[in-house]
């Protein structure tokens, strides 16, 4: 047990303390806030690096047994509910990634948010965000993980709605929280189910944890609805949480809207923290996800249904679905947002078909180049005076050389440009694994299409932003200007785009370096990262590259990338759009399909018409039921009571009180009436007799019936 594994809690605690101190500070002190946040993050990064080195030593020793520390939280009957943290290669790798990328984003934010009035609040929320994410990574208890998971949701809610005075930002924040909460409540059910089945929520607890063999085997032996194993059922419910958090179809709708937040937030959400949480969850719960009915659980591809089958399908569909939408978007950040959704689909696919290492490798490489791209986009937006529409950009490579160079590296990494860029290796590993998936070949083909589209839309974006001539400056559409920052700041500059300050470009350069280098830790020739996660020693084996199976996918993905980039260049690069109003070449070719894609397959509209309408209708119905139904019943009872009271009063006043008078009057009146009966006319006597007879017969009949 190393010192660091016993004090792992310090890693989330430092940013949390920073957030707390900034929050309670009454006078907003900008310098203090940013330095505190960055300092805490730096501390966490150093601790994470220490933890990482600790696991490094063990990895070569063989086996990846997590080091766990559990502690009592509260009593429940005769036992204690325990929480804890753990250190294993998966956690360590994620910790390093999150703290490092987070640190760079924090530094970048100092420049990007320099003119914002709520600078200190921003750093408070950023630190909270990082703390929650780091807590999630070290949790050794699904409940603790869920708690941090929800706090990540809260922090993202606060940051997406950071410019709360904009109604669109306020709506986007709410949408993000609610959409992810849809997944979360199902996840919540999964947790309580797992708790009742396993008797614990600790992942690892000296053989008794819910991810350890003995417990998993006994759970897998039980079946539930539809004959699937209990583990598969629980896995599916838990995966619903990941669907929401990681923006998988059909809960992806919040992620593009989350662009309403400041750009560093987008980078943080899309690269290091929020969306990575869902993928991490699947990776963390992998033994459970892979477990299925009969047979050993370490053979996920054997016959039998496990939650991973669903994960693979959802991932593959998301990968293509979002990539299609990205092709037709014009907002620089939205293109990246749909790209993230698509890449997350790839990660899920990788996890499901290839195992933890494949998915996590793409998660890590993606974190770096997507952070790079978002920060680059932020630099572009900053340089173009808050312009986000790529139709109003163009030719920026001359104005912003550093941003351009780093952005190009990010774009090539995301597209998976062969050999030197990290995205190539991580995406290739996914395609390779999908090719060998035994359940179906279709996810592989979906992945191929997704990879091609990725290269295509990224080329489209880069061509429109950096090539051609500058199309901005001429009367930008009013709706796009002034995203949150003070307008006079934008006007203070000339209308030429300008390069961003060093505090923003240096993080870009660092991220760009990693976007290249990271690929080399997970190539088929030297699968160090994969070995690290599984706790085995990696070996150089260049012969692997010549293995026809591996070589064929390598060549295929190379071809896909060249095809995608080539087509993109052909359509957008060769003849750049002349002005902002120019029609997109694809739109000219297929206007209807393009409209469908630009409107994101109308998913938002569909939800608006179904779920949201239904929700509102049901709420009104419940309100009406209350008002007219239950309350009506109560009112009816009260009126009945009032009616009875009234009747009682009538009886009292008119029957009892007036009774005596009435009787007296009645006697004299009666005499007169009876006297009138004695008319002497036979007809009337007979008539009375007939009526009396009929009445008598009826009475007797009624009497018989009653008895």
């Amino acid at each position: 047990m190393s010192w660091i594994s016993g004090h792992l809690y310090l890693i989330p605690l430092l940013p949390l303390l920073a957030a707390g101190i900034i929050a309670v500070n009454r006078q907003p002190r900008r310098q203090l806030a940013s330095r505190l946040a960055i300092g805490a993050m730096l501390g966490s990064f150093l601790l994470s690096a220490g933890a990482f080195c600790g696991t490094l030593g063990r990895a070569s020793g063989g086996g990846a047994v997590p080091e766990v520390h559990n502690f009592d939280w509260f009593q429940m009957g005769g036992s204690w509910v325990r929480l804890g943290w753990l250190l294993d290669p998966l956690t360590a790798a994620m910790l390093v990634m999150v703290t490092f990328v987070g640190l760079l984003i924090f530094i970048y934010s100092v420049g990007y948010m320099a003119h914002d009035a709520n600078f200190t609040r921003f750093f408070c929320f950023l630190s909270l965000f990082a703390a929650a994410m780091l807590g999630l990574l070290i949790a050794n208890n699904l409940l603790l993980l869920f708690m941090c998971w929800e706090l990540v949701g809260l922090a993202s809610y606060l940051l997406i709605g950071f410019w709360y005075h904009k109604p669109s930002a306020a709506a986007a924040a709410k949408k993000a929280f609610i959409t992810t909460r849809v997944g979360d409540v199902v996840f919540f059910l999964g947790i309580v189910w797992l708790y009742s089945q396993a008797g614990t929520l600790l992942f690892y607890d000296a053989g008794q944890g819910c991810l350890e063999h003995s417990v998993l085997d006994s759970m897998a032996a039980r079946t539930t609805f539809g004959g699937i194993a209990v583990t598969a059922g629980i896995g599916l419910l838990i995966f619903c949480g990941a669907i929401g958090k990681s923006g998988q179809v059909p809960l992806h709708v919040w992620l593009p809207d989350a662009m309403e937040g400041p750009t560093p937030v987008s980078a943080l959400i899309h690269a290091a923290t929020m969306v990575a949480a869902g993928v991490f969850l699947v990776a963390r719960m992998y033994p459970l996800m892979a477990a299925h009915g009969v047979g050993a659980f370490d053979a996920p591809l054997a016959a039998g249904f496990s939650a991973l089958t669903v994960v693979a399908w959802v991932g593959a569909i998301t990968a293509v679905f979002a990539a299609c939408i990205a092709v037709a978007q014009t907002d620089i950040k939205r293109i990246l947002a749909y790209s993230t959704v698509s890449q997350l689909g790839f990660m899920m696919l990788g996890l499901a078909v290839g195992g933890v290492a494949v998915g996590m490798f793409h998660l890590i490489t993606h974190a770096f180049f997507k952070a790079l791209l978002f920060l680059g986009a932020g630099s572009v937006i900053h340089g173009c005076h808050e312009e986000q529409d790529i139709r109003h950009m163009g030719g920026l490579r001359r104005f912003m050389p550093v941003t351009f160079a780093t952005y190009a590296i990010g774009m090539l990494a995301l597209s998976g440009f062969p050999l030197v860029f990290s995205g190539f290796w991580s995406k290739d590993a996914i395609l390779h694994a999908a090719h060998h998936w035994e359940v179906s070949r279709l996810p592989f083909y979906l992945g191929v299409v997704g990879a091609f589209l990725t290269a295509f839309y990224m080329t489209r974006q880069v061509c429109q932003v950096f090539y051609g001539h500058y199309r901005g400056g001429q009367a930008a559409a009013p709706g796009h200007a002034g995203k949150g920052k003070s307008a006079h700041h934008a006007h203070a500059h000339a209308h030429e785009p300008h390069e961003s300050p060093r505090v923003m470009t240096v993080p870009l350069a660092i991220l760009a370096v990693f976007a290249i280098l990271l690929g080399f830790i997970g190539t088929p020739a030297w699968p160090w990262f994969q070995s690290y996660l599984t706790g085995t020693a990696a070996e150089f084996n260049f012969a692997e590259l010549r293995n026809p199976e591996i070589l064929s996918t390598l060549l295929l993905s190379t071809a896909l990338v060249f095809f995608g980039i080539g087509l993109g260049w052909l359509l957008y690069g060769r003849q750049p759009a002349s002005d902002a109003q120019a029609v997109d070449p694809l739109e000219r070719w297929q206007p209807d399909v393009f409209a469908l894609l630009r409107n994101k397959f109308y998913v938002d509209e569909l939800y608006e018409m179904t779920v949201i309408q239904l929700n509102a209708w049901f709420a009104r119905a419940c309100d009406n039921l209350d008002y007219f139904g239950w309350n009506g019943l109560v009112v009816a009872v009260s009126y009945l009571t009032i009616g009875l009271a009234w009747l009682d009063r009538v009886c009292d006043e008119f029957v009892v009180n007036l009774g005596f008078d009435g009787i007296c009057r009645g006697v004299s009146q009666g005499g007169k009436i009876l006297a009138r009966l004695q008319t002497g006319r036979v007809q009337s006597y007979l008539r009375v007799l007939g009526v009396a007879l009929a009445a008598l017969v009826l009475f007797l009949l009624w009497g018989c019936g009653a008895s």
Partner: protein, 521 residues
């Protein structure tokens, strides 16, 4: 320690305060408020002492005082607390000063107002500590009367109707409760809750009820059905108080019309009287009868959770949103209680689940008792600034002018929607942890309530706090120092319970274990 009648002193302290306030000398307003606050704080100190000296590991009642009161009726003065009782005593002692502080703007007939509020507190403390029916019922009714006058005299524009509705509704419940317990007395010959529970457990009570009551007293009913009728009578009394749909229609109007301080008492404490009744009386005395009608009861609990959440979403008045949200939160308590009553499989197998659910119920009672009053208090602050406006659409962008207000109210709202790290989460988690294996369908349906709660609370934040600032409120003041003194301790407490629920659970875990053992069917 047992020699000193701590509970009696505790109960009569606010009563003494209430009486003092009616003396002519204390008449002027400022001094009345101070006096009332001093008495409530004294009560809080006494409750703190009770909490401190309470032995969490003991399985028996503590601080017991037992004296004959009306021997001919077997009526006793019998008080004592277990984990459940002390939790409620502490909550009462905490919420009352907050309610008094939140009532600082009461100008009209101040002394009477404060006196009634203390009167109400005494009634509540008595209810949560009394263990013999007549004595308990006296306090139960005693709390109703001040509440009625507080609403009737200091409420909003439609206060008269609301007060009448509240009074008649709860009165109907009380009468059926009284009749039910008279029937119990006639058969079992005791008013003692502990004895009644023992008889209910052993099934003796049901036997006595069907044999001892005069035959033909209710001709349409078979003898076996009599216990069920009596159970239904008691159930009605508590169901109205909690409330359980469909006995809830008094609540939104009452909460909306009552002055802020009174709403805080109503939602924080009086609603707990109902849940307390379920735990102290219905579950131990009528386990068999409850199980007989368990499925409809579970459906009602689920309906309470889901329908009230949706109804809250449809409201346009902030106080009504919170009122329905309050119904929703107590629905989880009822769900937990009903699920616990379910007999499934052998005892050993389900002990953990039942313990979890009941621990969750108790925690949820306290958490709701803390969070809901604070939320109403915030709405009260808003009303005070806006001149009585509290529509969802009347505001907008308040974060700009009142960041502290919005931040702290935001924290309370997130506590209410069960954000981990704040107090609401653990209780709800434990309830669902217990209910899911016991009654899976009910748990699965009820999570809808968790979702919709997030929807309507975030909608409130979006409409009131976010968006462009409504120009009408550019001069809106942020929280004053006095208001901060009210809400900051409560916020700290929310955080503390959320991070360390053992603070509370440690005190009632043993009681819950005893309750679960006694639930053996």
């Amino acid at each position: 320690m047992n020699e000193f009648p701590l509970i009696s002193v505790l109960t009569f302290t606010p009563l003494l305060g209430a009486a003092l306030l009616l003396l002519p000398g204390v008449g002027d307003k400022g001094r009345a408020r101070g006096t009332a606050l001093a008495f409530s704080l004294l009560t809080l100190v006494l409750a703190g002492g009770l909490w401190w000296h309470f032995d969490p590991a003991a399985r028996d009642l503590q601080f017991v005082e037992k004296h004959d009161w009306i021997p001919s009726l077997h009526a006793q003065y019998f008080v004592g607390v277990d984990g459940l009782g002390i939790l409620m005593v502490l909550l009462t002692a905490m919420v009352t000063p907050l309610a008094l502080l939140a009532s600082y703007r009461i100008a009209d007939k101040g002394p009477a107002y404060y006196s009634l509020l203390l009167f109400l507190q005494a009634g509540l403390l008595g209810t949560f500590t009394a263990l013999s029916f007549l004595h308990w019922f006296l306090f139960w009714e005693l709390s109703l009367i001040p509440a009625f006058f507080l609403i009737k005299l200091w409420g909003g524009p439609r206060r008269s109707e609301a007060a009448t509705q509240f009074f008649i509704y709860t009165m109907v419940g009380s009468i059926s409760l009284l009749l039910a317990f008279l029937a119990l007395y006639l058969t079992a010959g005791t008013f003692d809750f502990i004895e009644l529970a023992a008889k209910g457990r052993s099934g003796e009570l049901a036997r006595l009820l069907s044999s001892k009551l005069p035959a033909g007293s209710w001709p349409a009913l078979a003898r076996e059905q009599l216990p069920l009728v009596i159970f239904a009578g008691a159930l009605l009394g508590f169901a109205v108080k909690v409330p359980l749909i469909p006995f809830h229609t008094w609540l939104p109007a009452t909460y909306a019309e009552a002055p802020t301080g009174v709403t805080m008492m109503l939602t924080g404490l009086m609603s707990k009287m109902g849940v307390y009744g379920f735990l102290r009386l219905l579950l131990p005395i009528f386990p068999d009868q409850m199980r007989l009608v368990l499925t409809p009861l579970l459906w009602l609990a689920v309906a309470t959770i889901v329908l009230s959440a949706f109804a809250a979403f449809a409201q346009k008045d902030l106080k009504k949103v919170l009122a329905y949200s309050s119904i929703n939160h107590l629905g989880y308590c009822l769900l937990g209680i009903f699920a616990v009553a379910k007999a499934t499989g052998s005892d050993a197998q389900w002990t953990t689940e039942k313990t979890a659910a009941l621990n969750g119920v108790l925690l949820q009672m306290f958490n709701h008792g803390l969070t809901a009053p604070i939320l109403f208090c915030f709405v009260g602050f808003l009303e005070a600034r806006s001149g009585g406006l509290r529509g969802l659409a009347s505001f907008g962008g308040l974060r700009k002018v009142a960041p502290v207000f919005c931040g702290l109210m935001g924290i309370a709202m997130f506590a209410s929607l069960g954000l981990p790290g704040l107090n609401g989460f653990v209780g709800e988690f434990l309830i669902f942890k217990g209910v899911f294996p016991l009654v899976t369908w009910a748990a699965a349906l009820s999570v809808l309530g968790l979702l919709i709660t997030a929807v309507f609370l975030l909608t409130v934040i979006q409409r009131v706090f976010n968006g462009p600032l409504n120009p009408q409120w550019t001069g809106l003041a942020d929280l004053s120092r006095r208001e901060l003194w009210l809400v900051v301790p409560a916020t700290v407490l929310m955080l503390a319970i959320g991070l360390c629920p053992q603070l509370l659970i440690g005190h009632f875990n043993t009681t819950v274990m005893v309750m679960v053992e006694h639930l053996k069917f």
